[in-house]
């Protein structure tokens, strides 16, 4: 190896390990199978959303309506399954999630409005719509606890909670899409140089629309997870999800400029955020201060992104 340098992924892995070691030594109850499992389970919903969010940011798009989309999908899912049946509830919830991404695609691709503006409108409107469907209350669901309650035996050794399995599967799928396929490569091109991509015959609108469709599916998956884990749909379902996923993607190395980074970085960032969050709770930090910490982490992520962009012009896509 001519020049040894720490890659982005290695740096994030080191940060994660350092945090885990530090909190294990300083925070009671942090280092234990049940707490560590708990951290990863809590990170799973964010992780599922963060995967397609990575794809979007790589192509210079953004979706800040996902938290509200989860709320709407959850509301429709739970209300319909209580009124009709679980199957009809699931189908309706999926339809709601895809409806949201179809509206986003229509406004971004056909009306050519910036995705941050379109999804800001969605962030407000879809949570409102969720409250309309729920009539402002929380509604409980029966018979949908599999994801939240069960564990899958892995290699006969580990019992892995279902949400973690779902997160890992999403991660693998998106790693594959972005690393190995023509579609993934074209999304990196769109993010790095949109005009060059267009001149090379890549259809930007179609590719971006596909990414929002994938986000719609991810929103539905996240909905089924969140509903199963909490047992309810409420006006606050999925709250802060867009913000957590975005922080993870930026901290994970994609940055707002697009064209670089990957889901492995995002995954590590999701875990870093979850570890910090958990440690703050265990140490009894007041919840107001937890919010301050989360916001500061996002700011740190953006600053880190700016610095690495200036310093390192040779960062390539991939690892």
């Amino acid at each position: 190896m001519k020049n040894f340098r720490v890659t982005g992924i290695q740096a994030r892995l080191l940060v994660l390990i350092a945090l885990v070691v530090m909190f294990s030594l300083t925070t009671p109850y942090f280092f234990g199978v049940s707490n560590l499992t708990n951290i990863i389970v809590n990170a799973s919903v964010v992780g599922v959303i963060a995967c397609p969010m990575t794809l979007l940011l790589v192509a210079r798009q953004i979706d800040i309506s996902v938290g509200s989309a989860v709320a709407l999908s959850a509301a429709v899912f739970v209300v319909m399954s209580e009124k009709q049946s679980l199957i009809i509830g699931l189908v309706s919830g999926l339809a709601a999630a895809l409806f949201v991404s179809a509206l986003n695609v229509a406004a971004i691709v056909y009306l050519r409005v910036e995705s941050i503006i379109v999804t800001l409108a969605g962030l407000i409107a879809f949570r409102g719509l969720a409250k309309v469907v729920l009539d402002g209350r929380s509604v409980t669901i029966n018979g949908w606890d599999y994801i939240g309650e069960h564990r899958i035996n892995a290699f006969g050794l580990l019992k892995v909670p279902v949400p973690v399995v779902i997160f890992m599967v999403m991660l693998l799928i998106f790693y594959f899409i972005m690393r190995a396929t023509k579609y993934g490569s074209n999304m990196y091109a769109i993010g790095a140089n949109p005009e060059s991509a267009r001149l090379s015959g890549i259809k930007l609108e179609v590719q971006v629309a596909k990414a929002f469709a994938l986000m719609g599916l991810a929103v539905f998956i996240a909905t089924t997870m969140t509903v199963s884990m909490t047992g309810i749909a409420s006006p606050t379902s999925g709250q802060n999800l867009e913000f957590l996923a975005l922080t993870a993607v930026i901290l994970g190395g994609v940055g707002l400029g697009g064209g670089r980074g990957n889901v492995l970085g995002t995954c590590l960032a999701v875990l870093i955020l979850a570890v910090v969050d958990n440690a703050l709770v265990l140490r009894g930090v007041q919840s107001f201060w937890q919010e301050v910490a989360r916001g500061s982490l996002l700011m740190l992520a953006v600053i880190f992104d700016q610095l690495s962009r200036k310093r390192d012009k040779t960062v390539r896509m991939g690892i």
């Binding site: 190995a180 091109a189 790095a192 140089n193 991509a197 960062v315 896509m317």
Partner: protein, 253 residues
């Protein structure tokens, strides 16, 4: 000359933007394997003419023939499919991609069999073909795996030209290939153009306002002034100052 040897034929081409005449009755031919320079002052109509041939502007009237067949390009994609590649002044490269990724941008090679269904890239094959193309044009890069953002302006120009030559079957349009380059860089770009000429069956049309640069590589010079083709000169019959006087309008018979 037989019609078979004519790569591009432009006949009575006109382009108006409202009442502004950008091109007026322009006619010329480019022979197979010929390197033709298109020169003229700013606003002479060079870009409009090239855009008509490349398919990004549709002419008001007139005809374009490629390899003897009449063509009507409404999009750059149609021109590319027909065998005309364009190297734009801004190069249309993706900075974070390496040479082979840029060479196959938008035309990626997919693996065969079941993998094709998922659109899986065949990076190995693309890399192999890219290296072959680089070798063919004898272009040299310090590191063929480096991303183009780490390359100099001249190297980037050569990457874009290699892509054009790789895909172009009939005609390669070069828009100001040396405009943004220093002396040494221009020299290496011109060397690659020389190699295109000696190895390729492809014709080249080079747009430039730097007569000095195109002079050494071209066979023929077209001079545009005010939308009119004022001169069609064979290089060996004229001097540089003849061409300059055509460009400025000082030439008189």
């Amino acid at each position: 000359m037989s019609a078979k040897n004519v790569t591009l034929k432009v006949e009575n081409l006109n382009k108006n933007y409202g009442s502004v005449v950008a091109l007026s009755n322009v006619s010329f031919e480019i022979l197979k394997g010929e390197v033709v320079a298109l020169v003229g002052d700013n606003g002479a109509g060079k870009s409009t003419l090239v855009k008509c041939v490349a398919g990004s502007v549709f002419p008001s009237s007139g005809s374009i023939y490629l390899d003897g067949e009449k063509v009507n390009f409404h999009t750059p994609g149609q021109a590319r499919d027909a065998g005309i590649e364009t190297v734009y002044q801004q190069l249309a490269l993706v900075d974070t991609f390496n040479i082979s990724e840029n060479l196959f941008l938008g035309k990626e090679v997919k693996r065969t069999g079941l993998s094709r269904l998922f659109g899986i890239l065949d990076r190995k094959e693309m890399r192999r073909q890219a290296l072959q193309a680089i070798q063919e044009f004898n272009a040299t890069f310090p590191d063929v795996n480096a991303t183009v953002e780490t390359m100099s302006g001249g190297q980037r120009q050569i990457v874009a030209m290699t892509r054009g030559a790789f895909w172009g079957k009939s005609l390669l349009l070069l828009d100001e290939p040396t405009a943004a380059l220093g002396v040494q860089e221009s020299k290496s770009v011109l060397e690659v153009i020389e190699r295109f000429r000696s190895q390729n069956q492809m014709s080249l049309l080079i747009i430039s306002h730097n007569l000095e640069h195109v002079w050494q590589v071209c066979d023929r010079i077209l001079v545009l002034r005010g939308g009119n083709l004022v001169a069609n000169l064979v290089k060996k019959d004229v001097t540089k100052s003849d061409v300059v006087s055509h460009i400025t309008g000082a030439y008189s018979k």
